[in-house]
Subunit: 490 residues, 2 copies
């Protein structure tokens, strides 16, 4: 393990990759664009899943599972959706391999096992799910349907980055069916709130809730709501989306229900998702030049204990003192690791656990035992303090709560510092290099596209909690009644 | 919903399909051979996952995630494994669709987007994982690696049945790496014990633990251990396998480690898995002609309460009595559903919840409230009793425990009844139609194959807890020192 090779300020992208690989979160797989999620990284993802799954169930949703493959004829039924994803689809064309007659021990695709209809590996599941819902929905009594699935999806990406953009990724996708437009819109907004709550309270990342402009909308949606976070290079990352799909999929798959007045109507739909991309956000928002910084609520190891010892007797004595501490912390629901390896020195261990982002480190040696004390170090601020063993466990518990709050507050402050208001094109161009810019826009896709061409910045969203205010479009000078969030983005 | 259309004794396979589809467990998907796992079925699978995942973690394993796609050149590296799965591989050959120039609104596979190397959709992940482990293992200090992944896999099956054999299915696959053969064998056996414990204590299905004969071994394994259960038609179902892979994959992928004596050695491997096939076992072992019967430990709804009412006032009064009962049961960790629909009659509800296998049904009407009583019905034996409301909650808790035990005992008794010992070929042929037959076998693949050709029965396993006993092979008459389990199987 090499340590501290990268500085955020000098090589942001190198710093990011270094942390992902060296904190044992993920690595590139032998398959182009795909990743292996390593156990430590996967443990963080599992914690995210648990928190999200609980929130989905608390809001009345159940999990189900739909097939990985979508027959091409179903995939193309909703035209906008199909068009939006066609360019990035992995396609299964054959169902058998056979021995290569010219090359012993090698296999070739069996030309006799060509599928009559090609299968698309799901890039998203609206098509296969709405084709299934057709069989489930007859009357208003069958509605709403409130389902979610945890799954892998594949989108063939030309430029990939671990967690942020990979050919295969893990996600959850909610798919709901409703009797009315109002109910579907309200579901769309509810799930946006669920995502925002999760981002702020668990990931400790402040987000702007908003609606996408037409250019940035999900292919097949009438409206796309999103949460946007700011990374430490000032760029935006879309962290979750919730789509109001109108009747587009119901019409494409002919899904109708008999309403209370006994009339047939098309069903209304939503879909919403977050993915392993959130791992990228988590890393980029909180980490520093020493490595990963994890919010306590997602840390697989919340407290690491490093013994300082020269002899085996020292270690035995320390272990005797540490064992009841471990039990007490575990009883408070805190996950603890006692790093008693004799193959590494304390300095190495300190650096390693810093790199892995463990929120609280305890260090204890023979002199501490004599004094009845222990050294407590927090990962976020690097502060150290000496604490009496007698009140250690509640101090640690309190500290974990404080770290969670501090990380969120730091991220809020950083975002405030990097967010500016621009009223002229010059101001806009200067400030957009720094972070988010709140500016007026004339509401046309053409202007948005031109701004993107000139600056690489896009409209991240039209904030939901916007106050209306008269102004002029930053580029065209045409009238506008609210500011939108511009930024460069991942 | 049509009820009780099938009898096990008359149409076992129709009965099975009827329950799967009508108890809302799963249905056929639009993709040939694939299934949609419906919310009620998925909730049972989630409970299985939780129980298994806890056991994996308690035995020191972590979860991780490896790619869905395996480049063909990696897939073919371990020859026996590749040969074993080649005939059932879905293959991705292209990464893009494009608009059909001759057919507006339709898509075709873009011939310009052909992959230079085809990708196999994983039928099992040894190849991609051992290719990854190569980068992780240098020294004995890096061992053991104890990982599991929850994933979807694809095996192109010509004849499929919901849960039992589907083209795509969900499973977990453990993949471990060890310094010594002994350690790997001990891991293989440990995971077999984990599966057996789960099967007996959670699924309430007794299993025979054993080793497969060479004919039935996993492609690429030195030894395959398995647990085998008996279904209600007397056939065997392989419910889980644990493979000792020897050094086969380490050699194929050149994975070596420096041992303590500083010498390079190949690593030893295991893999082990169970799948959504367990859902099929669960259904087939416990259910009856009225529908699904669920062991309480896996029931998404453990108790259903059906109010018997004519008027809204009746329902209001019942609800008032039922609400504290629900709270008390929930406080005991029991999941309860109050079925207060006014669109269905009690008789319909009774039948519906029986079909869905809810272990305990409570029914309460105005007269019960006057008497301070409630009717309690158990799903497994159909017994009904009238219970005082005052001691209801602990009675229900006790009843759930009893049902779990009773289902297991019933399955044990059934298996004993359908298991016989055969010493002559005539006895064998008679008894094999009924269930398991314990018989001597000369140990050769040829004899096993001939018995299969003649009777369709295979050796399910050589039981681990076998007592040695001199005898003669049922077919060849050659000497044998132990009986093995023969049966027809799914």
């Amino acid at each position: 393990m090499e340590l501290k090779k990268y500085k955020r300020s000098e090589d942001y992208s190198g710093w990011y990759n270094y942390i992902v690989e060296n904190a044992d979160l993920a690595e590139h797989a032998a398959v182009k664009g795909c990743m292996v999620i390593k156990p430590y990284g996967f443990a963080i993802w599992e914690k995210m899943q648990q928190e999200l799954d609980k929130r989905f169930k608390d809001t009345g949703h159940s999990n189900a599972y739909f097939p990985l493959f979508i027959p091409k004829s179903l995939f193309e039924a909703e035209e906008k959706n199909a068009e939006g994803f066609a360019k990035e689809c992995a396609v299964v064309t054959h169902y058998r391999l056979k021995t290569d007659p010219n090359n012993k021990g090698k296999l070739i695709v069996d030309p006799d096992a060509k599928l009559t209809e090609e299968l698309v590996v799901r890039p998203t599941s609206e098509a296969i799910i709405w084709n299934t819902y057709k069989g489930w929905i007859k009357s208003y009594r069958d509605l709403p349907i409130l389902l979610n699935q945890w799954a892998n999806v594949v989108r063939w990406e030309m430029r990939t980055r671990l967690f942020l953009r990979t050919t295969e990724f893990l996600w959850q996708e909610g798919h709901t069916a409703h009797a009315t437009s109002e109910e579907a819109v309200s579901e769309t907004k509810q799930m946006l709130e669920v995502y925002a709550d999760f981002a702020e309270n668990i990931l400790a990342i402040p987000v702007i809730k908003g609606v996408k402009s037409a250019n940035e909308r999900f292919a097949g949606a009438d409206d796309t709501y999103c949460i946007e976070g700011m990374m430490q290079d000032g760029k935006a990352l879309q962290m979750g989306t919730s789509h109001f799909l109108g009747q587009n999929f119901a019409k494409a798959f002919d899904v109708k229900y008999l309403n209370k007045e006994n009339k047939l109507e098309h069903v209304w739909a939503t879909s919403w998702g977050v993915s392993t991309r959130l791992m990228g956000a988590l890393i980029m928002v909180h980490s520093d030049d020493d490595g990963l910084v994890l919010p306590p609520k997602l840390a697989p190891i919340q407290v690491v204990i490093v013994p300082i010892f020269r002899s085996e007797e020292d270690l035995a004595k320390i272990t005797e003192t540490v064992n009841p501490i471990i039990s007490q912390l575990k009883a408070l629901g805190i996950s603890v690791k006692f790093d008693n390896r004799d193959t590494q020195k304390p300095g190495f261990k300190f650096a390693e656990w810093e790199l892995k982002g463990v929120p609280v480190r305890l260090a204890i040696g023979p002199r501490d035992i004599e004094n009845g004390t222990i050294e407590v170090a927090r990962r976020d601020t690097k502060e150290k303090m000496v604490v009496n063993l007698t009140d250690l466990n509640h101090k640690v518990q309190h500290l974990l709560e404080q770290i969670q709050i501090n990380l969120y507050q730091k991220a809020i402050d950083y975002r405030a510092e990097k967010t500016s208001v621009a009223d002229t094109w010059e101001e806009f161009c200067q400030n957009i290099e720094k972070g988010f810019v709140m500016a007026h826009w004339d509401g046309t896709p053409e202007t948005e596209q031109e701004i993107k061409n000139k600056t690489k910045a896009t409209i991240r969203c039209i904030p939901l909690e916007n106050k209306l205010e008269e102004g002029k479009c930053i580029l065209s000078g045409k009238p506008s009644n609210q500011r939108v969030v511009f930024s460069k983005a991942y």
